[in-house]
């Protein structure tokens, strides 16, 4: 919005509930660690991600900061903002909307990590850091289309930064570090090859999307899309109430999730499920717990219920199960449901 091209509203997207849920959970609880969307082309993946960025309310960032540091998050400031805050306390702020920053497949290492600012070096004779994609991504959504086709060394950079929340640059005469905390959203078509298991594990949630199978809903998709293209402004206005309601729901959920405690039953369940499935490492326990909390918060309830755990399990576990080659990994999800039912009681 803001005078620029209107974005298709999030609330107007038909179906794809899993994808929407997974994205919202990450907004509520950013440390869940991103979403990987697997599926064919033309399943509204990129539309949904862009709609999400547009839906979110503007937030305050420090004025003039290229990394858009948040004044309230004093622990994760960049060097210059840290100095400014230390110098005169309250820096000037400006509102900023969340953006979708794309990482193209052909991106080179220096563009991703950032590099020496050539122009500055030639005109001023001084070294200066030229920020790359990871810098733009701070506080935004980093969207990697066809993440499974990304060059290995770029993936390594990405993982490095995503894991630490900081991008350390030690290259081409430049030594610099800046915050790089972003919501990582990847898409892939599994037919084009698998993802490295290490990268797969870093994505908090995985969603498998399919084209809408129901013919009535399919035609609804087309109808809405055409209406949007005919008159985007009017179309958006039509959904404004719903958008506003969703916005408020997200804000409330964020506040709630920040102070919600994980109860023993939830933690026990998560641990039992992980052990039963023999998943690798500890990320599955953590993600399951966080996602369940996020879903409860989105529902506006203080206690995590059975349905929240079930939904969270469906998104956080399948890609972490040890897969034997040539087998569908979904098979074991039945036993997970049974386990959860055991801990939480049947409906």
């Amino acid at each position: 919005m803001n005078g620029s091209n209107p974005v298709y509203p999030f609330s107007a997207i038909v179906g794809q509930e899993d994808m929407k849920d997974a994205l919202l959970a990450n907004i509520v609880f950013p440390s869940i660690g991103g979403v990987l969307i697997r599926g064919e082309k033309g399943t509204a993946k990129s539309t949904t991600v862009r709609a999400l960025a547009d839906l979110l309310p503007e937030r305050d960032v420090i004025k003039g900061c290229i990394f858009r540091c948040s004044p309230s998050d004093t622990r994760n400031l960049c060097e210059s903002c840290r100095n400014r805050v230390a110098g005169n306390g309250q820096p000037e702020c400006e509102p900023a909307r969340m953006r979708v920053v794309e990482l193209p497949l052909c991106a080179t290492e220096d563009r991703v990590a950032g590099t020496l600012d050539i122009e500055h070096a030639i005109t001023q004779g001084q070294k200066k850091f030229e920020p790359g994609v990871l810098a733009s991504a701070n506080g935004n959504i980093l969207y990697v289309d066809e993440v499974n086709l990304l060059d290995d060394h770029i993936v390594d950079l990405l993982l490095d930064a995503a894991a630490m929340g900081v991008n350390f640059v030690e290259r081409e005469g430049i030594s610099y570090s800046h915050p790089a905390r972003f919501l990582l959203v990847g898409t892939m078509n599994p037919e084009e090859g698998d993802l490295r298991p290490q990268l797969l594990d870093r994505f908090g949630l995985v969603v498998d999307v399919m084209g809408e199978r129901d013919s009535a809903r399919r035609s609804e998709v087309v109808k809405r899309r055409l209406a949007f293209e005919r008159d985007p402004v009017a179309f958006c206005r039509q959904y404004e109430t719903e958008q506003q309601a969703l916005r408020e729901r997200i804000l409330a959920a964020q506040e709630m999730a920040a102070c919600m405690e994980a109860d023993d039953r939830l933690i026990d369940t998560a641990v039992k499920v992980s052990l039963a499935l023999g998943v690798d490492g500890h990320r599955s326990d953590l993600t399951l717990v966080k996602t369940a909390i996020a879903f409860a918060a989105l529902d506006g309830v203080e206690w995590v219920g059975r349905e929240h755990v079930l939904k969270a399990a469906g998104l956080s576990l399948p890609h972490r199960m040890r897969r034997r080659p040539f087998e569908e990994s979904r098979a074991d999800l039945g036993s997970v449901k049974a386990l959860i039912a055991e801990c939480y009681g049947s409906p």
């Binding site: 994760n76 004779g125 001084q126 060394h153 950079l157 005469g173 690798d280 326990d285 966080k290 040539f326």
Partner: protein
């Protein structure tokens, strides 16, 4: 900077924590490797070191590091403004007296890893670049992490790590729950959480200080020194680094425990930390319960006297030990000590080995994967490794190096208002390196010749097994068959094992043998269109008996085949011919084809034990 998870708050991983404390307590331990599968808190543990060393900095060595930042380079700004060449120190020098932290070291450029390890070990490195020629002293502790599933380090690199610990996922329900709880609490309120653990962190810091003070006075009883060397021999550890590392770690453990003398348990744990990653061969069967009667090494005979003292009793007090001899334990006594001095019995070597075996059981059960092949990239993709004088019009200018080259001349050059004027001789271009994937196309004779069924089973098995491995190597495997009058691309080169399994369910066989057509089409698949991409290693594995009976242009089939083969040989695609001919008489036509293609020729019959996949891998991954 976001706060690190406090060291004392990490649940489990006791040995790894001990290893870290040893490394922090002893200046002699300079390299520590933490390995483990994904999600086992490797990085959390490594980063938590920051919470233990208040006075020291932890410098991160990122994946994107280039040589100039590692080793140091010309300072651009002084060069431009004063025309003076001054050195900007790189991370190796900045790390002097600090800690360097390298995440996923197995994914880093090999040269960078080499430099890091040798600088850590030698306490100095030499800088020979851009007009500098210096040897710079630096002392730091290198802490690195890696996930062996993503590729291993070479044995030589592994040997350079003084200590190595492996983290296993924790299976205990209660502990796992505690991990989740602590992690969530830390996420919600990092400062408050860290404060809760600050008394424990303080204790550890104090413990470290007193251990550092005590360490020079810690001694290893002679008998234990013998135990260390016999352990290293027994485990097939090459070189002396292992012996030294065990001794240093054992001393650090004793110092941390507030003792002046190393005891058996110190050595046991030290061996796990320092020798497990240096073992040459891991025994398939557990070590013999009884020590072997005949000892191979006569020198060790004295040390292994089956004399009484049981390992339970504490080692007897030794005569006052000079700290400087304790430093190099394997050389300690010039003359063999009298038998009465022995403090370990012959079985204790095997006690320790059994202990190591038990601890490393899980690690050996997993299949190991090699490092991926790396080549210098010809386009502008890949990791910027170094720079050189440009030889062609490549337009991939190494701006930093170019500016540095130009900088000293700025005072005498006409600058036209710019800060730096660059002339042609200053130009440097980037040398980039990238990991390459292989594309392997199997070209298989599916005509009605002998043994076609068995051949297909073999090929299918090989493709699937190569694809499972391709998970790590990111290779593409495809299958083309030829039969009847033409060739068919049954499986376009793919990385997905699922697709391969689906598409290879049925393979049609029977008919004539149009080998020439098959070969020419296979060549086209890899040179045109989707799979023609530069920078990939491409191979065609041909399974044939070399017979051909379908002409392409109505010429004599064998002439056509030979012409084509010679034509496409040496075009950048690697060929491997697998001769499927069996029985008698042999025509050896496949061998002739291999000759024309300048390709190695294997016999399918001879591969039975090695398997097709493994043999093909040998040829394709090992550059000839």
């Amino acid at each position: 900077m976001n706060p690190a998870f406090p060291f004392p708050a990490i649940t489990g991983h006791d040995n790894a924590k001990k290893a870290i404390l040893c490394a922090l307590a002893s200046d002699e331990i300079r390299t520590l490797l933490i390995t483990g599968e994904r999600g086992t808190a490797k990085s959390t543990l490594a980063r938590s070191i920051r919470t233990l060393v208040a006075g020291k900095q932890v410098l991160t060595v990122p994946q994107n590091i280039t040589y100039d930042r590692l080793l140091g380079t010309v300072d651009l700004e002084t060069a431009v403004s004063c025309g003076k060449i001054r050195l900007t120190p790189g991370i190796l020098e900045q790390g002097n007296c600090q800690i360097l932290y390298a995440d996923d070291i197995n994914l880093m450029d090999e040269g960078i890893v080499q430099n890091l390890l040798s600088a850590a070990e030698n306490g100095r490195f030499s800088l020979e670049r851009e007009g500098f020629s210096r040897s710079i002293a630096t002392r730091f502790l290198l802490v690195a992490t890696m996930d062996p599933d993503e590729g291993e380090l070479t044995p030589g690199q592994m040997d350079r790590f003084d200590l190595c610990v492996r983290l296993d996922p924790i299976d205990d329900e209660e502990k796992r729950g505690e991990i989740v709880r602590r992690h969530l609490r830390f996420n919600q309120a990092p400062d408050e959480f860290s404060r809760g653990f600050s008394p424990a962190a303080k204790d550890l810091e104090e413990k470290l200080v007193s251990a550092r003070e005590r360490l020079p006075y810690v001694s290893i009883p002679d008998g234990h020194a013998g135990l260390i060397s016999s352990l290293c021999l027994e485990l097939g550890v090459a070189g002396q680094r292992g012996d030294l590392a065990v001794a240093r770690a054992a001393k650090a453990l004793a110092a941390l425990d507030g003792r002046d003398e190393v005891v058996f348990d110190d050595i046991k744990l030290a061996a796990l930390l320092a020798l497990d990653h240096r073992r040459r061969e891991i025994p398939d069967s557990p070590p013999p319960p009884l020590p072997p009667q005949d000892n191979k090494d006569p020198d060790k005979e004295n040390d292994q006297e089956p004399e009484p003292p049981d390992p339970e009793t504490p080692p007897r007090q030794d005569p006052p030990q000079q700290p400087e001899t304790a430093d190099r334990p394997e050389q300690t006594p010039p003359a063999p000590p009298p038998p009465a001095e022995q403090v370990f019995e012959i079985g204790s070597t095997f006690d320790v080995i059994r202990y190591l075996d038990e601890k490393s059981k899980k690690a050996t059960s997993r299949q190991k994967s090699g490092r991926r092949t790396r080549v210098l990239s010809v386009d502008s993709s890949g990791h910027y490794r170094s720079f050189r004088l440009p030889d062609k019009n490549r337009n991939d200018i190494a701006v930093d190096a170019t500016l540095r080259a130009a900088a000293p001349y700025q005072r005498i050059r006409e600058r036209n208002g710019l800060a730096i004027s660059v002339k042609k001789p200053d130009l440097r271009e980037k040398v980039r390196e990238k990991k390459v994937a292989h594309t392997i196309l199997f070209l298989v004779d599916a005509s009605g010749s002998m043994g076609v069924r068995r051949r297909m089973v073999e090929v299918k098995g090989a493709i699937l097994s190569l694809l499972v491995d391709a998970y790590q190597k990111r290779d593409r495997i495809g299958l083309m068959i030829f039969r009847g009058t033409g060739a068919r691309l049954l499986l376009p080169p793919t990385r997905s094992s699922d697709i391969a399994a689906r598409m290879l369910r049925t393979i049609p066989t029977g008919g004539m043998t149009p080998l020439t057509t098959g070969l020419s089409e296979a060549h086209q698949v890899l040179t045109r269109g989707k799979f023609a991409g530069a920078g990939e290693n491409k191979s065609i594995v041909i399974l044939t008996d070399g017979r051909v009976n379908v002409p392409v242009n109505n010429g004599p089939p064998y002439h056509e085949l030979s012409d084509l083969a010679r034509d496409i040989a040496g075009c950048g695609i690697r060929f491997v011919v697998v001769d499927t001919e069996s029985g008698f008489p042999r025509l050896n036509r496949a061998r002739a084809l291999a000759g024309d293609l300048e390709a190695p020729c294997l016999r399918l019959e001879d591969l039975k034990n090695r398997g097709l996949a493994a043999s093909v891998q040998d040829f394709i991954y090992n550059t000839r």
